[in-house]
Symmetry: C2
Subunit: 526 residues, 2 copies
């Protein structure tokens, strides 16, 4: 079973302090060799600005959701400040929590969300929907100018499993459920969502939908947007209820306009998802490939012959060498080449049949099975990488991730261009690692991890590298984000991707649903 995490995250670090750990000795040696160790003093316990909101407004909000659910305590507001990108952490470590909300409001149901939005329209309050707080693209950084105050609309009380349909295999979930909480409730009915992004332990159902999240088992279960068959949304102009059938021809699919809307069009108050029976057996194995290209071609073959396992993930030579797929053994032995993780979840007979077919394809293409040990190591450490980032930041190593996707024939170019852009921007000694973790018949994602020695001013250092990588993605005709979403950080590149007219459509929908622009101002919409 997965850990059931309830604690909130400090703005300077990822996750629960209990789960954090020091760098393994092996990793420490490697880091020292690559970057030198530059122990940073513990970051000061920074304070948030005092709430800038009139007492009358607080009083009005209390009438809507109850006194105890309108909170202005510093600690509560601190824990709702920004998200978890490296720039977010760097700002917090430097003592800057200027983006803290003025008040945290916790509605209990759709009607209370709707009431808060109506109140916010009336008094021109900016509203930032808050789920797990795991955004890595600045999705929680509200634009303050022109608003009476900034409200963090915390969905923490909306954690119900509203309905289960065992015939249709659907479930209706509230947005505030974190990954493990949703899985735990579904497990009581013998079901699973099968959605395991790296942020699984903290991120929420509403956030998965609002950002088009994709999980580590996407090959088997599908992206989160593919799991959604229905949505209920509260907007400043009223309610939107979508999902009359699994698919239809009743005009454009408006569900796909809410998915990825990042709180800028409305607040998702329930999500109807496709569910599956809980797998009776889960097994993950490692495969060795002589090169990243050979492994990626094998993934393509599996996708295009309809033989996808549940988990399919390939590290490039650099990531394999540093063993990042196995965080417990960073810097340990590596056999060279590229490591692929192949996982099967389901009934034993179906797993065995799929595994036999996949194994035949992979062996035919030059792969070598390494058995289940590397698979177990990956499964054990699969949610741990963000903790590692904290440990590296502690010793002066700048670490961040970024990701994109493209069609198969463009994969090599995209890989080379983004890697080159990052290395050029950050200079000698920069480490760029990459893996493919989401595949489609027509293409795949590329997920990069970057490490470099921190300069005296790491924020602009990273921002320049990020801009160079983003430019390279757009120039290659790829997407600015496969599953991290747009937020504020990717917004400058979105118009290049969808065009001026695409941006105009987003503005038109925003103006229709949120005419006064109170919802997550500055996020997503160009």
């Amino acid at each position: 079973m997965t850990r059931f995490v309830q604690s909130e995250m400090h703005p300077q670090r990822w996750g629960s302090p209990d789960a954090a750990s020091d760098l393994p000795a092996s990793a420490r040696g490697l880091i020292e060799m690559a970057f030198g160790l530059d122990e940073r003093p513990a970051s000061p316990a920074v304070s948030v600005p005092a709430p800038r909101i009139a007492e009358g407004l607080l009083e009005g909000l209390r009438e809507l959701v109850g006194d105890e659910h309108v909170v202005t305590d510093d600690e509560v507001r601190r824990l709702r400040t920004r998200g978890k990108s490296t720039p977010d952490l760097l700002r917090a470590r430097a003592g800057d929590l200027d983006d803290a909300p003025d008040v945290v409001v916790r509605p209990d149901c759709h009607e209370q969300v709707a009431a808060v939005l109506a109140f916010a329209v009336e008094h021109h309050l900016a509203v930032v929907p808050f789920g797990g707080g795991t955004s890595v693209t600045g999705g929680l950084v509200a634009q303050r100018e022109g608003f009476a105050a900034v409200v963090s609309l915390d969905l923490v009380r909306m954690k119900r499993l509203l309905a289960v349909d065992q015939v249709s295999m659907t479930a209706v979930l509230e947005p505030g459920l974190r990954g493990p909480e949703a899985e735990s409730l579904l497990a009581e009915a013998g079901l699973t969502l099968g959605h395991y992004p790296q942020s699984f332990e903290y991120a929420t159902i509403g956030g998965f939908a609002a950002t088009r999240s994709s999980g580590q088992s996407s090959a088997g279960y599908g992206r989160f947007d593919a799991l959604v068959v229905g949505l209920r949304v509260a907007t400043p102009r009223g309610e939107l209820v979508l999902g009359s059938a699994p698919a239809n021809a009743a005009g454009p699919d408006l569900r796909q306009l809410v998915l990825g809307s990042e709180g800028a069009f409305g607040v998702i108050t329930s999500v109807t998802v496709r569910v599956r029976r809980r797998p009776a057996e889960s097994l993950y194995e490692g495969w060795h490939w002589p090169s990243f290209d050979a492994g990626a071609d094998a993934m393509r073959t599996l996708a295009q012959t309809g033989l996808l396992p549940t988990v399919l993930r390939l590290s490039d030579e650099a990531e394999t060498a540093i063993n990042l797929a196995r965080p417990d053994e960073i810097g340990g032995e590596s056999a060279g080449g590229c490591l692929m993780i192949v996982g099967y979840e389901g009934e034993p007979a179906a797993n065995a049949a799929k595994r036999a077919a996949v194994t035949a394809v992979l062996e035919g293409l030059g792969g070598r099975c390494l058995g289940e040990e590397p698979g177990r190591a990956w499964a054990h450490g699969r949610f741990h990488a963000p903790y590692l980032r904290d440990s590296l930041l502690d010793v002066g190593v700048l670490v961040e991730t970024l990701e994109t996707a493209t069609f198969w024939s463009n994969r090599e170019r995209l890989y080379t261009d983004v890697k080159t852009a990052l290395e050029s921007a950050l200079g000698e000694g920069t480490l760029v690692l990459c893996h493919v973790s989401h595949v489609y018949e027509t293409g795949c994602s590329l997920y990069f991890t970057v490490a470099a020695k921190e300069s005296a001013d790491p924020l602009p250092q990273w921002q320049a590298a990020k801009a160079a990588a983003s430019d390279a993605m757009v120039a290659a005709g790829a997407t600015i984000t496969h599953h991290h979403a747009v937020g504020t950080d990717h917004r400058p590149w979105l118009t290049q991707e969808i065009g001026e007219l695409g941006a105009s459509i987003l503005r038109a929908v925003k103006a229709d649903l949120d005419p006064t622009g109170i919802l997550n101002p500055g996020v997503l919409v160009p």
Copy 2:
């Protein structure tokens, strides 16, 4: 190989006169018994109204696309009048072609489409994009009031295969390609789209995209919207180019706003689709089920265990009895119960493996394999039903189809309610047949065929029945259309399905892309 059809369709009948046939003797007997035979005199060769468009406008259009591609001939305009719903045919048979366009304009490329749209904005011409003319929901019936004239924008010259990517397994197709034409071009590269709706021989790539078409092999290849990875669209406000990756998190998926937009937001000028290798083997077999419920439950089991064949189709008891799944043998022998067609297309080894697994499931659930003969009969007649409708209209039998979709747990209710609504509206002796031909993990489509004795005034007779069936769908929480689209006929029910706010979003997008409302006025947007 499929027939390669080039001829255009007369407004009173479906398809090519060469392919039409008289009622088989067996069917004739059955029809006589059920409804009586009421031979109708051959419909008069009706004339279209004279073109109502100023010569100066024609001159301007000629400058954009060339003299020979601006056509006002009666015959050409007659063949672009309305679509192929039974009401469309009844109106044409009654001599009413009042909805004829004033001029048919044939652009050759994206730039010419864009130029025609700019001209139409300037002179306030209504523009009706025209592909195969197979709409059965009034999608080609432009609202004339307030416009200087109605232009049929015929995409017949845009029939190129623009690009093939054998690595990514994608192809870029122009919108005017009919089904067989697209397949023929792709076949030269060893590829297939695998999209076979009943209108396959006439309908076009642009139409498939604009209406979210679904084909008879949707279980294996997916709905058309699932095949689309990219789109280029000409709108009055400029160009829209979408599709930077198979999937992404770069905000809402705007492709899904163009898919299903029915020419009301823009004109699709190219579509990038996922393609597959041409199957080495195709085989279709029949299965017998004791009841519709038993067969539908078996389909659900296949969908929910990830064991879908390429074709999966189940007729209810009535449709099985009348043998509509085998149009050549209407009224022939039937074994009772329900007929299911199960088809496999692919490599022989993969087909054999899939077939073994599917067979085990179906046998375990009480199905009985009838061998390949019923499958061959279905495949032979799969595009023939619309011809049969013409033959029945000729003898005074009103025939029409309608379709919907819902989640599995709502299937029985929806089936009963729609059937009851149709029988109540049309009175004793009405024949209502049904099949399931598109399945998903969470639900399925229901496709109804209705036959009744024509009253003296068949148009209002059918409209009342259609309204009753549509009300029943909406009341059951199902969709107003699974794959026929909205057009003008379903528009009154669309707002009930997507809500007032959903309708508002469609209007906002329409206003943004087509501010003067020239594109397919009256279609889709509530």
